[in-house]
Subunit: 348 residues, 2 copies
């Protein structure tokens, strides 16, 4: 984020389609929200060339500190959000997506940086997205220490924008997930998603291209906008207590993002181990059934694109299943197990 | 970056404008370049949910380690690069821009993550940009431990793409720049830029909108494409030896990016200290003179948008000027000094 406004007018640059004043107004509008994420570790944030995060205390508290970093975007969910005029949830989407991506390696977030680019900056939209990101950062105990707002006429379609972000967290080397103890018979516990999260939106947009976002399908009970734009949830609050235990029973986690059920679990499986998933073992939310019917999409493709109602899988030994499910303060489902075989997912 | 191809075809998703196979081909094409940036600290990179960087050794070697992070984009230079079909330099642009942004706080880079989003993935373009980023990472001793390639039909204009990135580095707390000893009389040493770097491109595109990129203006001696697309240089090689010294004479650095001479130096000045810059004390490269003439841009606006031939300023005590200039292995210029007064830049 740039520093506060200077007294220059920028008329020539403005004529080229770049409104520096809009950028500064956006920064002013988001500053309080961003600063609300700062703990004492943040030595410099908004306005500095780079954000400064004092990692001394945290990293010295670990035996062998490993930094974990991930960059992601929210995909074409941004286009739907623009149509619906709902911007703040996108900030939660990007932060929570990133939080979950490093959680599956056992890491807790330290700090986050946002990237917002658009054809023409409208300060209230940028500020809403960043404020949503700041809220999700506060909830994750993570500082929003930097970011960039870019105005790019001629690159983005008019009125369109993109939202991406980068998270950095830390994990003690001995606690990195997945654990080497993964093996046949380990059970897959599914934790619910809050919608399609940030995946499959180009397909969703195609299917609902002719449907007004205010439409209420009876099986959804809410407007299409609400169903499609529900923010990506964070699994940190329900999983962090389990992961923090001295002998955590969680052997692996898989975040069901782009590539869905088919491509994500293999990312944490060792060679010679596959996963069998029992279809019907959890309730598929009506949105996915509706999408499948309207789009005439074959079942395998549905499971390759969407999370189908389960956003995170935890892999635990059979003996630990009951205890782990008791420790997760919401309904979960045993949805399958690891088996000897090819490093892939079999839907049964 | 996603993991390698599965055996699914993705026909429905492809019909919605998302070509998963193109994404996987891009990943295959860039993998060797990305892996060439890995040192022994990288425990997981391409294909993992998040990149893993073992920070134990480095951070224990510091008295009080501070992480420094910055996100940036290359702006609408991407549009010119697309027109010229020159993609690889954009990867250097984004990495070097980020390297310089944390260098001004005294930090050396640890790792980098890229973000590449486009209307429709063309694997060779994505791979070229990421390969350029990998080359710049290698030169900076920095690992490219993650990234995201996003296909976003309906958000980007056809054929357009965006390139952004995030860098994380480290600095010992006692060596953070700027130093509190900055004061009136300190001298500004200017180090040359390699062109407009990544700033002012919307204005440049407007000025040269009707000019073929193959045009050779006599004062430039190279094609317009070459002049405008020269990659943003990194100042790490020429400044790192100075910064590493026990009592480094460098009190502050300012990276002259967006906001140029007017807005960047004040970001490192304490209250009650301004900077006087002596116009004419360094040779303004002919590209900027040409731009000013063709665009009929007033001088102050030129210095607010462009670096005018100086990409980095080092602030040093008057007594250290000669020694610092000897230590920088290229021509430099004394371009001004700090003065008591408002926290701003006065062009004289």
């Amino acid at each position: 984020m740039p520093n506060p406004p200077s007294n220059s007018k920028g008329s020539d640059y403005a004529a080229a389609g770049v409104d520096m004043d809009a950028k500064y107004r956006a920064v002013e509008m988001m500053t309080a929200a961003v600063k609300s994420t700062y703990g004492p570790e943040v030595l410099a944030g908004i306005g500095a060339f780079g954000g400064l995060y004092d990692a001394g205390g945290l990293l010295r508290s670990m035996h062998s500190p490993v930094l974990v970093a991930s960059t992601d975007g929210v995909g074409t969910k941004v286009e739907l959000a623009a149509r619906a005029g709902r911007y703040e949830p996108l900030g939660e989407d990007i932060v929570n997506h990133c939080v979950n991506d490093i959680l599956v390696q056992g890491a807790r977030p330290l700090f986050f940086l946002d990237y917002f680019a658009t054809s023409a900056i409208r300060p209230e939209i940028t500020a809403a997205v960043v404020s949503g990101a700041a809220r999700a950062c506060r909830q994750a105990g993570c500082a929003l220490i930097g970011g960039e707002t870019a105005e790019m006429p001629g690159v983005y379609l008019p009125g369109q924008f993109d939202v991406a972000g980068t998270i950095v967290g830390a994990v003690d080397r001995g606690r990195i997930l997945p654990r080497p103890t993964l093996g046949p018979g380990d059970q897959l516990i599914g934790i619910r998603s809050t919608g399609p999260h940030t995946n499959g939106y180009s397909l969703l947009r195609k299917i609902f291209a002719g449907t007004p976002l205010e439409t209420v399908f009876p099986e959804l009970g809410v407007t299409l906008a609400e169903a499609l734009l529900a923010p990506h949830r964070s699994y940190l609050p329900v999983l962090a207590p389990l992961l923090a235990r001295e002998n955590s029973p969680v052997k692996a986690l898989a975040h069901l993002t782009g590539g869905g059920w088919i491509e994500n679990p293999p990312r944490v499986l060792p060679e010679g181990i596959g996963a069998e998933v029992q279809l019907g073992s959890w309730p598929v939310p009506p949105l996915f059934t509706l999408v499948q019917r309207l789009g005439e999409i074959n079942p395998r493709e549905m499971y390759r694109v969407f999370n189908m109602g389960i956003g995170m899988l935890a892999v635990v030994a059979r003996d630990d299943v009951d205890e782990v499910r008791r420790q997760i303060p919401e309904e979960t489902w045993v949805v399958g197990e690891l088996v000897a075989g090819e490093q892939k997912v079999i839907l049964k």
